[in-house]
């Protein structure tokens, strides 16, 4: 058997229930891996060894008592540092929340806690999840475990790097415009963004509320199914969470894939700036899937992704400028005393927030301001309605859509940080699904120059089971 920290959730859960090893041993293996790699990778903002080991001990005792436990019980994981964890630091990668201790727990981490999961630490992210490289963290950058001169992607870069390097068995992230799928692609792990409304946003620090989707990163698709089963479902604390019943995801993924109808959006393979080798890797994955389903992919038409990008970069900052108004230096977080209350707001926010966050707040303030609202925000919302219609139309004739995750493999640290527009373009293929709210997964489909590349599989609203099913069969055949 490979080192304990390299196990999947399925393998670890089997080992624990068959008493091949204890949760304390499994947790120690992850903590040892963290101790040996973290000084280079810097995937974590906070690590809680004592907390984790005491959770693990609790599990071992419960198992000895013969209690029946969930498949995630006793298994170490990490949460992106924008999930509120009661009494444990939660910074969102920002100076303004450096000393914040949440008085409450996010629904997702609470559900994992109830399932007996072991929280090892909180991972690095672009400040308030704004970015695609984790370089916008106010604390430090995280490195890609496959090549330390490159970014892990973002904004859930710490969560992706921690899973890829075996520091934890799986991790939680958030995906607003691609922030789980893109780092999963860059780090060679599986990243699932469920349908908007499938998972509860309660207790996760808000960036753009109509887009933020609680998501997760795992080593395999089967593991993604297990985590979804535990975290998804209606939460009275999030009025946008859906009460549609969940499927039995671990069973669904085993069903055959023959006869599934697959669509290929032509517009996505004709964009400028797409690395030809990445395109080849994605197209050979499409070919493999055609063999699996026994049919050719059908061409479908979605709007050119650059329209979605322009639409997203108006809607998201508008919501950001409103959501981040709460950081006022009064209720919590950094406070820089000014001459009067107004000046205290200016100084606290001016010093506490980083460059990308300020840029988006200014952008959003402009898009929402008097005289520009119709031309920018309202126009973008109309385009969003059209993008949603595109997907509705495409899903009349196919079950799933295949696309690249990102136009390139992981780029170099520092390469795009001074050019925000170039950084935004890296989200080109993940944004349309976020605007439409449909589920999508990034699953590894090869390598370019030693760097992993992901394939994106996109499904109908609340049809995670079919997305996971095809991803699982593809993974098994790869």
């Amino acid at each position: 058997m490979s080192a304990l920290n390299q196990l999947t959730i399925e393998q670890a859960s089997n080992g624990l229930t068959n008493k091949k090893f204890s949760s304390v041993e499994l947790t120690r293996a992850c903590l040892d891996q963290i101790a040996s790699t973290e000084h280079r990778l810097r995937a974590f903002l906070n690590i809680f060894p004592e907390h984790a080991l005491s959770q693990a001990e609790k599990f071992d005792l419960a198992l000895r008592r013969g209690e029946i436990l969930s498949p995630l019980a006793g298994i170490p994981y990490a949460a992106k540092d924008n999930f509120c964890t009661e009494g444990l630091p939660t910074t969102a990668g920002s100076k303004i929340l450096e000393k914040y201790l949440p008085p409450f727990e996010s629904t997702t981490t609470a559900r994992l806690k109830a399932a007996g999961a072991v929280l090892v630490g909180k991972t690095n992210l672009d400040e308030f999840a704004m970015g695609g490289s984790t370089e916008n963290s106010a604390f430090y950058s995280t490195k890609n475990p496959h090549d330390e001169s490159r970014v892990p992607g973002g904004s859930s870069g710490g969560s992706a790097a921690a899973v890829a390097s075996g520091e934890v068995i799986y991790s939680l992230g958030t995906d607003t415009g691609g922030s789980v799928r893109q780092p999963a692609s860059f780090c060679g792990v599986v990243g699932l963004k469920p349908t908007y409304g499938r998972t509860s946003r309660y207790g996760v620090i808000a960036m753009a509320s109509s887009l933020d989707t609680i998501s997760h990163l795992t080593k395999t698709v089967a593991d993604a199914a297990i985590v979804l089963q535990s975290i998804a479902g209606r939460d009275p604390y999030d009025s946008t969470s859906s009460n549609l019943p969940l499927d039995n995801y671990s069973e669904e993924i085993k069903k055959p894939v023959e006869g599934l109808k697959i669509g290929l959006p032509q517009e996505y393979f004709a964009v400028d700036g797409m690395d030809p080798q990445v395109k080849d890797a994605v197209l050979s994955a499409v070919k493999k899937i055609e063999e699996l389903i026994g049919a050719s992919a059908m061409p479908v038409s979605l709007s050119a992704p650059d329209y979605a990008l322009a639409c997203y970069y108006l809607i998201m900052p508008s919501e950001v400028s409103s959501n981040l108004a709460r950081y006022d230096g009064v209720k919590y977080g950094l406070s820089v005393p000014g001459l009067d209350l107004f000046d205290t707001y200016l100084q606290s926010r001016g010093q506490g927030l980083g460059s990308e966050v300020k840029r988006r707040i200014i952008l959003g303030t402009y898009a929402l301001s008097h005289g520009y609202y119709d031309a920018y925000y309202k126009k973008a919302c109309s385009v969003r309605a059209l993008i949603k219609k595109d997907f509705e139309r495409a899903f009349e004739s196919v079950d799933l859509i295949l696309a690249p995750v990102a136009p390139t493999a992981a780029f170099g640290l520092g390469e795009k940080i001074d050019d925000p527009l170039q950084m935004y373009l890296a989200d080109l293929f993940t944004i349309p699904m976020s605007l439409a709210g449909v589920p999508a997964i990034s699953v590894p489909c090869g390598a370019v120059g030693g760097l992993p590349v992901g394939l994106q599989i996109i499904g109908k609203w609340f049809d995670e089971k079919t997305v996971l099913r095809l991803a699982h069969h593809f993974e098994q055949a790869s």
Binding site: L101, P103, Y307, G329, V330, I362, Y366, K379, S382, R384
Partner: protein, 96 residues
């Protein structure tokens, strides 16, 4: 499309953000190129399209108006995060 420093000043004030001169200059030029990119939306015909501010077919999700007490402990945890507090209150500079 161009933004001048005065416009950035105005937006920064609306957003309650203190910006350095350097940031203002940088944002003015970066936002101009970003808004330039946004112009492509104007070529899309959206006549008779109902704008979508969110994508779920949800409307007015209500719950019963019941008080669920958070308790003194939660109150203390909340107030403990305040940079400037007095007993159970947030302290701010006087505004009148």
């Amino acid at each position: 499309m161009s933004l001048d420093i005065q416009q950035i000043d105005h937006l920064a004030k609306l957003a309650r953000l203190a910006l350095s001169d350097e940031e203002k200059k940088l944002f003015a030029s970066q936002l101009a190129s970003i808004f330039g990119y946004f112009q492509k939306l104007q070529s899309i015909d959206t006549t008779d399209i109902e704008p979508a501010s969110q994508i779920l077919p949800l409307k007015n999700v209500f719950r019963l108006d019941e008080i669920s007490a958070s308790g003194e402990e939660a109150r203390q945890k909340i107030i403990a995060n305040a940079p400037n507090k007095s007993n159970r209150h947030f302290v701010v500079k006087k505004i009148l």
